[in-house]
């Protein structure tokens, strides 16, 4: 059985809940020797320091040893080696491969040819399932459930793959989505069709203010990037309309939490960092626990084994 973790879209509700329960175990005890004697390879064909550090920390805190590369310039790919050859070669050394690639579908292909499990740490504009998993974990952690939530997606809904993956993964949980974006970065029709096909309710808002935010359980902010605009006048016109300011939280529900995949530039005012609604740094921290769960699950370690683990380092 191929235990690779390539996309979140094909995971069932049960599987998502299973991984959340496993991540909870790792949050309770992140340091263990569960993977002692194992080798985890992290192959970053495209640099992503944040994601790589998160995966490597997860492997290290479970006692595995880590090999790999952080910069594609040092690999044989630059000499013309195929992805297949690189993957087959590294499979000889490692028990699992965590890979980031600039080409879409690279992780899927690798998972079909590799004798060891593949974990997708992002493949171009396609998928970034460990980010989605940590988003789901954070939503569950802050709301106590994934069911029947009002999730507000703000900013770049056109190119932001995290919001697309989150939308698809939430289909099991009867959410209501709210889309708040400039016209040039609006949610693509294909994802609205996806909502219709899967019975997901969605509402589109023109305004972004205290009244709109008052209905949110989760406020998921993303960055509106200047380079996404073909019309820079349009960018200048809209850029400040999607900034979150402290006074906009005046009517927010007590349970509402602000998430952001980071890095943030200015879309969340810095004064919000100390507000109880702010949760993006804890969200990033959850990446460690969910990635510990993802690596263990891909290696065939069960929730029960994690629960009965006697290798915990106190």
């Amino acid at each position: 059985m191929n235990r690779s973790f390539v996309t979140i879209a094909e995971h069932s509700r049960e599987k998502i809940e299973y991984l959340i329960r496993m991540a909870e175990e790792f949050e309770r005890h992140p340091n263990r020797l569960l993977l002692q004697g194992r080798v985890v390879a992290t192959l970053f064909f495209e640099p992503s320091t944040r994601t790589r550090l998160s995966f490597e920390t997860a492997a290290n805190r479970l006692g595995a040893r880590v090999i790999g590369f952080a910069d594609p310039k040092v690999t044989s790919g630059t000499k013309g080696e195929t992805l297949k050859d690189t993957i087959m070669m590294v499979s000889n050394y490692a028990d699992i491969i965590v890979m980031r690639h600039y080409l879409e579908g690279a992780a899927r292909y690798a998972s079909e040819i590799a004798p060891v499990p593949i974990v997708n740490a992002g493949d171009g504009a396609n998928q970034h399932p460990s980010q989605t998993m940590l988003d789901l974990y954070t939503i569950y952690q802050t709301q106590g459930t994934l069911d029947h939530l009002n999730i507000y997606l703000v900013g770049d809904l056109k190119y932001g793959r995290t919001v697309h993956s989150l939308l698809m993964a939430m289909r099991h949980f009867n959410p209501t989505f709210h889309f708040i974006a400039p016209d040039e970065l609006a949610m693509p029709q294909t994802y609205k069709d996806y909502c219709l096909q899967h019975g997901i309710r969605y509402v589109e808002h023109q305004d972004f203010d205290a009244d709109v935010i008052s209905g949110a359980d989760i406020l998921y902010m993303t960055r509106v990037q200047r380079e996404r605009f073909t019309d820079l006048m349009e960018y200048e016109h809209v850029k400040d309309r999607y900034l979150l300011k402290l006074d906009m939280l005046s009517k927010a529900r007590p349970n509402m939490r602000i998430l952001h995949p980071l890095p943030r530039v200015n879309e969340i005012e810095y004064s919000i960092d100390d507000d109880p609604h702010a949760y993006y740094f804890q969200q990033a921290r959850n990446g460690l626990f969910t990635r510990e769960a993802i690596i263990c699950d891909a290696l065939g370690i069960t929730l029960q084994q994690v629960q009965n683990d006697s290798s915990i380092i106190q």
């Binding site: 992805l83 600039y102 080409l103 879409e104 579908g105 899927r108 171009g124 396609n126």
Partner: protein, 162 residues
């Protein structure tokens, strides 16, 4: 032309079409003229050793002009014929045995297309590795396919053949 291969091209010199009757084999009719050579390539007719008759720019009441291919002593598998649907979705097929049409078939898109078409996303891994492509047909009526690797949905009319 090589050894045993006999390919006849029939053009419309007169209003009447003369194509020799087939005793055993397959007739593919109503091929759009601009797709004829793609169909020939797809079915690898250049490798055939039995008699192949190709009609090009023939008159058709339904289509204006059409092309037709008659292939002697060769019966295609469902999979092979379904591949045809990629380049010519509305062709009609007749299976001939002893000069009789024993079966007429419509061609339809299969559930999967393996190694037949290319993804139109330049950043897809399948366009950057020596590998076989794979597509899932998500809407047979509208001809929508989804790349197994990059997940891009595309219309069958917009993709290139391998």
């Amino acid at each position: 032309m090589s050894g045993g291969c006999a390919v006849g091209i029939i053009c419309m010199k007169r209003e009447q079409l003369i194509v020799s009757a087939l005793d055993h084999g397959t007739v593919i009719d109503h091929i759009p003229c601009d797709r004829l050579f793609e169909v020939i390539n797809l079915l690898h007719l250049e490798q055939m050793t039995s008699k192949v008759t190709i009609g090009f720019n023939l008159k058709s009441n339904k289509m204006g002009t059409k092309s037709i291919i008659k292939i002697a002593d060769r019966f295609f598998t469902d999979e092979e014929l379904n591949q045809l649907s990629v380049v010519a979705p509305n062709v009609s097929l007749s299976i001939i045995r002893d000069y009789e049409v024993v079966e007429k078939r419509e061609v339809c898109l299969p559930d999967e297309l393996r190694g037949i078409i290319l993804c139109n996303n330049p950043k897809c891994i399948s366009n950057n590795e020596p590998m076989r492509t794979l597509f899932h047909v998500t809407n047979k009526q509208q001809g929508i396919v989804r790349c197994h690797y990059c997940n891009h949905e595309q219309h069958i009319k917009e993709v290139k053949l391998v």
